[in-house]
């Protein structure tokens, strides 16, 4: 376990020219993201970074006054790659607000659908979007010496994935021509078929409802899912060693690469996959059923598991402004003064947020983005922590590993690692993988965790399918619980969107939505400097990034910055824009990096 409290900050004290380099838009992510940096080429480091998103849609505004039953259909449309995570999270909040519990088979069907979403989404993002940053074409253009070394470096796990050298792995990742790129794209379709079996349509599901699902549980439904799942399990036996070889090579080929995208270990996970034996969707039992999720909720600070209690996680969420285009709501209406357990609820909590947009010119010294700044209040220290999700998997694994709660045959938390057991498949024997807590929260480890989590999701799906078929064989096939919408209620849903924490908070008055605030992972990751001046995670991670790219200023691609940003799996309907135009020298001065004068 790592106990590092702050990443290494090197300050050589040399004079450096700061050059403004911007990338707008950053591609191969979902949504609109701009990254604006000041780079010190002499010291080969990023001195400053601002992250900006250029889209505003206003869900929290137009949902007011709507029927609360419509919330999951509407909020699915927040995101075009993980809309189902929103729909699912919304049904969790609806279930709480309406006071209902779906039948167990419905819960297993949702878990199977969500597992397929992780299997699909991590796969396509890792191998068709992130993978391009590590492909032959990109590495040749940015680090020719690394390409040369890759050609003479045998892949340690060649027997498992059949690519003889690291260079072969990189070639396989070339867009639209690499064999692995194309295979992954195909696989991302099969997993989406699995998803559609359970939730009807990708990416905005048709068969989810408050109270359960409309999916008809039949023998055929599970047969169709399981035969596809086992093909994916076989694929995983190749994919995990493939990525381990690639990522380990980068540490070897570029000593110090662990500093790319590194930030303090400040990770949040809100838990995923409810256990129907325990989960009753009541707020008062939330601590208990949260701890029975198959991905354990938790906050990890400097390598320490601070809490696994969803009630505590909930109450300490704070939405700060500072650099976002909105009016403050400190003096606006308070919708919820106390939670159902009698704990006071802060005015800056999502239940009490009032969203009032104020479009204006972009000014990096003042307001520069549509993203707000969610923080988690650490009552031990009084700090408003800029938690990140690390793109999802690293935070999920870290919390789950330390909590030591999950043990379902195919996946097991050991207290210091997470083990994944994959049974025999058509052409490959049984395999065990173990995700071990890494030394750093950095770009490579975020990416590595993503691959391991694909295998984890497959393992969980094997368990869920067994449980679902038990219900089916016992004849317990009812999938939906009827309900009445109460006049007054509050609800909250906690889930893991593919790229990290997701919460939905709803307030119902007069049978209609009075307030609704979803907090997806990207506001946590892509947010700007808050009212205390604390930068958001992308900004923070990029600001600490050393430059390994061999190109000079004229041909600079910013590949290390791209790898740092993409490791968070940005999704900016919940983005970063960089234009690497003609870099403009801003000023010549002592480089007061990170505020330290030498």
């Amino acid at each position: 376990m790592s106990t590092i409290t702050a990443p290494n900050v090197k300050n050589t004290g040399k004079k450096g020219n700061l050059v403004e380099m911007n990338w707008d838009p950053i591609t191969r992510i979902v949504g609109s993201l701009g990254i604006f940096t000041k780079i010190d080429f002499e010291n080969r480091t990023v001195a400053e970074c601002h992250s900006t998103s250029s889209i505003f849609r206003g869900y929290s505004i137009f949902m007011k006054g709507k029927d609360p039953r419509d919330a999951h259909f509407i909020t699915s449309r927040i995101c075009g790659i993980c809309g189902d995570n929103h729909a699912t999270c919304a049904t969790y909040a609806q279930n709480m607000a309406f006071g209902i519990k779906p039948p167990p088979i419905a819960e297993w069907i949702v878990n199977l659908g969500e597992a397929a979403e992780y299997m699909f989404d991590h796969n396509i993002f890792q191998d068709n979007l992130v993978g391009v940053d590590f492909c032959e074409q990109m590495v040749k253009e940015t680090n020719p010496s690394v390409w040369a070394k890759a050609q003479s470096t045998p892949a340690p796990h060649a027997a498992d994935h059949s690519y003889k050298t690291i260079a072969d792995i990189m070639t396989a990742l070339n867009p639209f021509s690499g064999s692995f790129y194309l295979e992954a794209l195909q696989m991302s379709r099969m997993t989406r078929e699995m998803f559609c079996l359970m939730e009807g349509r990708h990416v905005h599901p048709s068969t989810l409802y408050p109270g359960g699902v409309g999916t008809v549980p039949t023998v055929q439904l599970f047969t169709d899912y399981i035969v596809r799942l086992m093909k994916y399990v076989e694929f995983m036996k190749k994919v995990v060693p493939f990525h381990d070889d690639l990522f380990d090579f980068f540490y070897d080929a570029l000593p110090g690469y662990e500093e790319v995208g590194r930030r303090r270990i400040l990770l949040g996970c809100w838990g995923s996959f409810n256990n129907p034996d325990v989960c009753d969707y009541t707020y008062k039992n939330m601590t208990n059923w949260g701890r029975h999720m198959y991905v354990t909720p938790g906050v990890v600070v400097d390598g320490e598991l601070v809490t696994t209690d969803l009630v505590e996680i909930n109450l300490n969420i704070r939405i700060l402004l500072g650099s976002s285009y909105y009016d403050d709501w400190q003096n606006a209406q308070t919708f919820v003064t106390h939670d159902p357990l009698g704990n006071p609820v802060d005015q800056r909590h999502p239940w009490n947020q009032t969203t009032t947009p104020r479009p204006q010119k972009r000014n990096f010294d003042d307001k520069y983005t549509w993203v707000m700044s969610p923080r988690w209040y650490d009552k031990r220290t009084g700090d408003y922590l800029a938690l990140d999700t690390g793109g999802g998997p690293i935070a999920r694994f870290w919390a789950t590993a330390l909590a030591g709660k999950v043990d379902i045959g195919y996946v097991k938390s050991t207290g210091k690692s997470v083990k994944i057991y994959l049974p025999k498949t058509a052409t490959k024997g049984e395999v065990e993988f173990e995700w071990k807590i890494p030394k750093w929260s950095n770009a490579i480890e975020r990416d590595r965790a993503r691959t391991y989590f694909q295998a984890y999701a497959a393992g969980c799906a094997l368990h869920f399918a067994e449980q679902a078929m038990k219900e089916l064989h016992a004849g317990r096939t009812r999938t939906w619980t009827d309900f009445k919408v109460p006049d007054e209620a509050i609800g909250c849903g906690f889930h893991e969107a593919v790229r990290g924490v997701l919460s939905h908070h709803v307030v119902i008055k007069n049978g209609k939505i009075a307030n609704y605030h979803p907090y997806p992972p990207t506001p946590w990751n892509a947010n700007p400097r808050d009212s205390f001046g604390t930068p958001g995670p992308y900004e923070d991670a990029v600001q600490n990034t050393p430059i390994f790219e061999e190109n000079g200023r004229d041909k600079f691609k910013g590949i290390d910055i791209m790898r740092a940003v993409r490791s968070f799996d940005p999704c900016l309907p919940c983005g970063v824009h960089m234009y690497d135009g003609q870099g403009q020298i801003l000023e010549t001065r002592h480089s007061p990096m990170f505020g330290l004068e030498s």
């Binding site: 911007n22 701009g34 505003f56 409309g214 999938t479 234009y579």
Partner: protein, 354 residues
């Protein structure tokens, strides 16, 4: 293989008269990128079928979409600037997301793509549409947001957003004489979009006539029939047999399905590779392909008001039909009486030789 080795092929197979076509795909409307993600699921044709030239007769296609692009930042946006200058000719402009109204406020932007090098300010999506639409061979709205406004244009929305044809004008024509082509769906059904793109590429190559569109500018072969007409649960409707609870395999119109009046082929085509869909797999049709979406279909989980009358009428007739059919069903579930063991043949054949 040298051309002289395939003389018959020379007669029927010609290269496209247009050597190269660019697809400039803007996801910077008010959307979720769900339509871009959707097309990566398409298989009829797939994105790689188009990009790698797997279908004969088409030009070389270059797709510039931010979700899958190799390039970043300025390297990526250069295609936008080239298109604006007329250097990327011909190109098809695809727009995703609804078009915000930037005129209703004093300053700032609702949606933008890239940064103006002169001002340092974001370039509004509307500016890009103004710059590129006049230069495009065809303009395609991918998904309901771009087509008609969609979810982000719901009543009470702060951005005043709308569909592309609302923005450009419903009578707008491209320089090649095509109106806006709408492929609605929330998100767009993967193959519906790719097939429309394929059609336009055929048209560009002179291999297809003008794309047939209805008055809502939708391809007629995709949106000419209703959900109900293609739904494999319509038989339950005919028999007046309605689901009372989600999860039932019966017709779900009483649970909020708008299928009888919604133009969409999803139950027929499935969501991808024939799998999934909406009412065919237990999901109420919420009208997500329609110009009136979402407001005219909310609250989604109530029975559609017009539907009540027709489903009540069909209940009377349907239950009579159902009773009669159940007699017939019992009969056809029995094998004919001459299939039996024993020493006697009762099939009607009268053997004379054994």
């Amino acid at each position: 293989m040298p051309p002289e080795a395939i003389p018959y092929g020379r007669k029927t197979q010609r290269p496209s008269p247009v050597a190269e076509v660019h697809v400039v795909w803007m996801t910077a409307g008010l959307g979720c990128d769900g339509d871009s993600v959707s097309i990566t699921a398409a298989t009829q044709p797939s994105i790689e079928d188009i990009v790698l030239g797997a279908i004969p007769g088409l030009p070389k296609v270059h797709v510039h979409n931010p979700v899958i692009a190799y390039e970043n930042g300025a390297d990526f946006l250069k295609y936008w600037y080239q298109a604006e200058k007329g250097e990327l000719d011909p190109f098809v402009l695809v727009v995703e997301g609804s078009i915000p109204n930037e005129k209703i406020k004093k300053d700032g932007y609702w949606a933008a793509l890239g940064t103006d090098p002169n001002t340092g300010q974001p370039i509004p999506t509307c500016d890009w549409i103004d710059r590129l639409a006049p230069k495009a061979l065809a303009v395609v709205a991918a998904g309901t947001c771009a087509a008609y406004g969609g979810i982000h244009a719901m009543e009470g929305n702060p951005t005043g957003c709308m569909g592309l044809a609302d923005y450009l004008g419903w009578e707008w024509k491209s320089k090649a004489g095509l109106p806006v082509v709408n492929v609605p769906g929330c998100p767009v059904q993967p193959d519906n979009f790719m097939e429309t793109l394929l059609y336009l590429l055929y048209q560009v190559s002179g291999l297809a006539p003008m794309i047939p569109l209805d008055d809502q500018l939708r391809p007629t072969w995709l949106f000419g029939r209703t959900v109900h007409e293609g739904c494999d649960r319509a038989g339950y409707y005919e028999q007046g047999d309605f689901a009372e609870s989600y999860g039932s395999p019966k017709c779900i119109v009483k649970l909020g399905c708008w299928g009888p009046v919604v133009n969409c082929n999803v139950p027929k085509r499935g969501w991808m590779n024939g799998i999934g869909g909406c009412p065919n797999v237990g999901g109420i049709c919420i009208g997500c392909t329609m110009p009136g979406f979402p407001d005219k279909f909310m609250p989604f989980m109530d029975e559609p008001p017009g539907g009540k009358l027709s489903s009540s009428a069909v209940s009377v007739y349907g239950s009579a039909i159902r009773t009669l059919r159940s007699f017939t069903n019992k009969t056809v579930n029995k094998e004919p009486k001459w299939r039996h063991g024993g020493r006697e043949l009762t099939t009607g054949y009268r053997p004379s030789s054994y």
